[in-house]
Symmetry: D2
Subunit: 374 residues, 4 copies
């Protein structure tokens, strides 16, 4: 269990065994890549109903040459840490089996991201294991590091919520989002979120968010070159955002032509005047010690603001902002790789924290330049 | 002059001569394509300082096989209608020469889009021919059709402003944007625009907006796959939007990976409750007779909302919306081809109105499906 | 029937009725666009099993606003000309029904492209209506114009075969491909094609070739940015190429990141020395009177050779070449839009010839510049 | 010097100092990324005339947060190994300065890739330091590992040549390319390459090959979606291919829509019959011990053949083939990341060999799945 590991002075040289349930999807494949190269992890199993018996490199061509083969989900092995990258609803159904098989369960689905059954029912359909909701901890270390060390279940956040939260949380904590937002972190245990006409979040996402699968709308011919609104209102990731900010936001997503990436542009209208200096103070205070958040401060080159390209393949979140003096708007930009910081990388980062490993272990890839539509 | 043509019962079979100044750029090339295929136009000249002597098909490969060659700008011929597709600042410098050479001048630059010298100076540098500002008429027929017939100078609107205005004008006219907005059309002659924290406009544009040219930031390797904020605050097209809506908006642009297209997502927060029916009434009233605006009403397929792909190469604007009951937000989507409806197509449409031709003459292309990043 | 129409002096102002079977696919949608805008055609029916009852604009967003709705394939109406854009095997099954319903049948599938049952069986599975194979005429007017006027059934060629044939046929006719190739046009009625190690054809195609549908391999996330060999050997379009050139070629396809387009690079090794002048003579002789073939002769700009971008959305084929003195190789480039010249455009062009209309009627669109991945 | 290092039993824990001349370009930036993360390297300097004084993360956004700043090229520091990523012609001009400053010089330009002045003059303009040509060793370890240990100057190969050579060298060594090819490796010291009508190489490359810079032809609007022939005949990389295969090939390049990647499709016509088994024997014998070459053996998924996507960001070359029984053609596919295996990765790999480090040190990144146009 992570707490023991965390107490161990030799934690960084320790090795744990790990398994991945649902290893044939995009997030699952990324877990396989990260765990295969993780200095403290021995990857012992990857399950896939569809590809059982096939080598992992036969599904994920970047993993060609690895010996590991997919096994049936029914033949689950006991491991120290189990990652589940299954469609929503599967982990809650098997949560007892999974927690029996592993000391630490890290789930990448939406099943355990919300704190209460009431919140879950508001945004999703009925939860089949609600008693685990309060057991689970939200994975994002920048928001919840202090609770990860004791966690038995960790729920990796939604990609769009992750991008948005990393952009807005420092402003919420600094009181820029409104007076009630200051206690935002506490609202997960109750309280009515205040109305949020003050924050508009316009997110652009890549096609990997749709998962490995297909369908006419996500075919290359139909999806290439799109600027396609989807879930223009009522996106489920709003639930996570409300839970952590203590206020609701006006949220709209657009599919654009990239494979990896989620970019949140947050238009924030503070109640009163705010200065650039105050904003920098808020962001620097929040992130100066964070290994995976980089503040992007404008400048003169081609890359003046956060962009998903610059973090593709990495666990970084790039965050920056611009202040619009005319109408006292703060425009916050937050860019992540949805498969990494928005899913598998966040999960491994949280597991590193929980298990007492170096936080950046297995997550050192710096990203590429140039890179196209990563 | 257009007024004479408009009065002519045989206008639709009449032919005028036309020239294009600045025909080697993207908007200029599109003018050449449109005018070359226009049933009422004889294209007699295209100028280009850089490519004088070269065939127009040598620069614009879609026009291979045409006999017309670029001529020096200094050798300007007299024509009935002259289109200028030059960088900002050139037309104002040559406006006397151009209006001497042609009965009707249609300018695609920003030089004559604003109504007063004061407005111009607020957003651009000093105007060298301010006395022509009140002479010029804004090209967008959906906003200004009644004034085009008498025009001597027509100023084609900015692409981002065009997409935004087509999305928001019906709401302004219906009072949804605030009581003061109802007289919006009159504000071009003065008055202080009201503060506009109520409307956030998040625009996504293609690389053709940057024009034919190049530079490291717009190179394929750097620009592919981007979600790149640019002009996140203070974009000059806000001036046109303010002029026509009577209120300022919070405006931010992003470059995304497409070549043609401008897509405006407008997050509107009405003062009071508004119903879907009211909104449809407003949009249908505004656009039911418009030949180039299509209302997109959701539905079940891959294309539920306006998308630039669906209008690529055409003069259409697709407009639609979604109502967010939770926080009383209207999310308006407006998609155009920036080179067409946002520039050259708008110019030809306005000229058709001014000259009394069929409004759709030369603009009949229906667009393609499928189409990638057009 | 076409022959009557062809004899009619007023043919160009005549109007025929047309229907499209299989109108929801990519080629079918393109037919709808072309026929909807065709001056001599009244489009009266479009069938689709899946979308019966839905407006054609609900499936093809470029056709928004048209009133025509899909009808069930079983409710086929009698028309003057019927276009079938169904999967391979459907037209042969219904060929009696279709030829009863229309004077002229234009099929876009592979069912009637080959001249004999033996050829068909070599490349495809058993033909169920082989007696119609010799009735049908190959659509490509550049190869077979003289036989289209009397045709009852016209078979639109395969896109890759079309690109290849337009690049190589002038060389075959000029004897550059080998002495036996001179009688190539006659080989459709028999004769063993000679061995063709002398011609390597390397084709690059867009995702629209796969048709509207989907599947994991053609999803945006998997197909973006590919250079993916497919059918590296044994591609079925070789059959058409052999039929018309009289020799077999070494043929390999690659999927690349575009939606529309097929580009054939043909590496030709003549038996003896050949000069640029001879080559130009061959190509000019073959194509100088062709309305839809443009010879691209190098030059100094960005577009020195044929490229699919430059013909996207059009019925043009751009053809050019370079001569490699070192090893006496001719590198021929041929670029088309696979949905247009490689399918629906070719079909309409052939129908225009058969029906005695202006050859370019309904096919006037000039294409766009700039244009991305069309 | 590398030989000493190679002899050192503790080589793998040893650290050398390294500098990069020309660090602001694409290959230079990749060197900075690789050396910054290399366990045996201390990166002490990066020069850039244009960006001197600016942090390396200000030019390469993936390197945000690094402290190193570009320095003037004139202020060159002494290091153990110096990498030069400058335009062709610069290294030869400064070769004495560079070899004085470092024990080992690894050049990424074309200056020292060819063995003799005669070869150089045939393909490039006059060499200013021809006496170093025979001193320099070609970097590709798969071809020249045995000569790297003693090298003072290493010349990283051209990207298109690298992809082609890795695809064809096993066939040359196995005698499949013709009897004379067996002694191919020796032809660098003389001998007339035999005529090569038997091998056609059709290469597809990404936009990063053009380097950081710009220009109208490489702008996003012009280059998106291209299948653009360039250097269809007479490509300079043919010189390297001839040098190592002992025969000339028919070589043509196409720019396609990706940023990173070079994919060579080699159409090989052996003199006599060849079996799949013989081919597999040749490739397995050549590459089974190679850490960076993976044989791709068809199979059933989306990724049956080598594709640049599957190696993007990595130092891998994926190689595979298909046999065309009909005309006895072998179609060989070879895919690399041009910035990595085709340039900076190859350079670091060669330096690892020369310096006695683990060959894979600093080159462990596994690549991504899914990934777009990397």
């Amino acid at each position: 269990m992570g707490t023991t590991a965390a107490a161990d002075a030799d934690a960084e040289t320790e090795t744990v065994t790990a398994g991945v349930v649902g290893g044939s999807g995009f997030a699952g494949g990324e877990l396989l890549r990260l765990l295969d190269g993780h200095p403290n992890v021995e990857l012992v199993q990857a399950t896939s109903r569809e590809y059982a018996g096939k080598s992992i490199g036969g599904v994920h061509p970047n993993l060609r040459g690895r010996e590991l083969r997919f096994s049936e989900p029914s033949a689950l092995e006991s491991v120290d840490v189990l990652f589940t990258a299954t469609p929503h609803g599967i982990t809650m159904e098997h949560v007892e089996e999974y927690t029996d098989a592993a000391d630490l369960l890290v789930d990448l689905s939406a099943d355990f991201r919300l704190a209460t059954e009431g919140q879950y029912d508001e945004w999703y359909d009925g939860h089949t294991a609600p008693e685990y909701l309060e057991v689970a901890e939200y994975a994002l270390p920048e928001l919840n590091r202090e609770n990860l060390g004791d966690a038995d279940i960790i729920a990796s956040g939604g990609c769009n919520a992750t991008a948005t939260l990393l952009g807005l949380k420092p402003l919420a904590d600094a009181g820029v989002l409104g007076s009630e937002a200051q206690g935002a972190s506490d609202t997960s245990s109750g309280g009515e979120p205040r109305d949020g006409a003050d924050v508009v979040v316009d997110v652009k996402v890549g096609s990997s968010e749709g998962g490995a699968g297909g369908g006419a709308a996500s075919s290359h011919a139909e999806r290439s070159g799109v600027v396609r609104p989807y879930a223009p209102t009522g996106h489920r990731h709003e639930a996570e955002i409300e839970q952590w900010l203590g206020l609701s936001v006006s949220f709209t997503c657009h599919a654009v032509d990239m494979v990896r990436g989620a970019s949140a542009t947050c238009h924030v209208f503070p109640d009163g005047p705010v200065s650039k200096k105050e904003l920098w103070t808020a962001y620097r205070g929040a992130y100066e010690a964070e290994p995976f958040v980089r503040l992007v401060a404008g400048g003169s080159g081609s890359y003046r603001y956060p962009e998903p390209k610059a973090v593709a393949g990495t666990n970084y979140a790039d965050v920056g902002f611009e202040l619009d003096p005319g109408n006292e708007r703060v425009v916050v930009f937050s860019a992540i790789d949805n498969v990494m910081k928005g899913s598998a990388g966040q999960a491994v980062h949280a597991a590193n924290v929980a298990l007492g490993f170096e936080e950046t272990a297995g997550l050192e890839f710096a990203g590429l330049h140039p890179v196209g539509s990563p």
